[in-house]
């Protein structure tokens, strides 16, 4: 199965609520047959620009990065589900391709 990465920005909330939102998201993924590989917390930061979502203007947010393996057919419904979640400010799924080696880039061949 191809490997995807979900860049998730959640609203600034208390720890138990953030945990509940993450749990919900991961459970949704697993229900649709995805295999979660890794979940990284990039911390709570000031957003680079104000984002308006679900009738609210957000200036701060918590960044998460979720690696998973999934079938391509579930992505549409998954994104739809994430867009409807009130606690999620921005969600994007990216495909994670195997890294291209830098060996044929210009420069001294090491």
């Amino acid at each position: 199965m191809p490997r995807y990465e979900l860049a998730l920005i959640l609203k600034t909330m208390q720890r138990p609520e953030t945990a509940a939102t993450l749990r919900r998201t991961v459970e949704t993924l697993m229900e649709r047959g995805a295999v979660v590989r890794n979940l990284e917390n990039l911390g709570e930061k000031l957003l680079p620009y104000k984002m308006a979502k679900h009738n609210q203007s957000h200036t701060r947010g918590t960044y998460f990065l979720l690696d998973f393996y999934a079938a391509p057919s579930i992505l549409n419904r998954l994104l739809d589900h994430l867009h409807r979640d009130v606690d999620v400010v921005r969600s994007t799924v990216l495909r994670k391709d195997p890294e291209v080696s830098n060996s044929n880039c210009c420069g001294p061949k090491s």
Binding site: A7, I9, L42, L47, P48, Y49, M51, G61, Y63, L65, V89, R90, T92, L94, E99, N102, C105, C106, G107, P108, S110
Partner: protein, 113 residues
């Protein structure tokens, strides 16, 4: 009269001796190929600090190839990563993050003070 003499001189001077000919070899004075700054560095949309070095501090615009000095491949990668980070909400669009203003200047651009 002199032309005939010259012609005969050239044919008998023995230009075709083996040890005098140029030996075919690679240019010994060739300089090693220098790579661009990011040759051994992998570009990712997550490290906004690296990407912010290629962006103007005043307007947040991406610098062109003639300013950054990157090779074709890396310039494209950086440009794509910047656009991706901006769309995902990782990097600012209209300005450069103030935290990264003190970073060393790798693009050869000098700003008005």
């Amino acid at each position: 009269m002199s032309c005939a003499g010259l012609r005969s001189l050239t044919s008998s001077s023995g230009v075709h001796r083996k040890d005098d000919m140029m030996v075919k070899m690679e240019n010994p004075y060739k300089e090693p190929q220098r790579g661009c700054v990011l040759c051994s560095v992998s570009v990712d949309f997550k490290n906004t600090q690296l990407l912010s070095q290629f962006v103007s501090p005043h307007t947040g615009r991406i610098y062109g190839r003639h300013i950054t000095g990157l090779c074709g491949r890396k310039q494209k990668e950086v440009s794509k990563a910047i656009k991706k980070a901006q769309s995902l909400g990782f990097m600012a669009v209209t300005h450069k993050h103030p935290q990264f203003m003190k970073d060393p200047n790798i693009c050869g651009i000098r700003h008005l003070e």
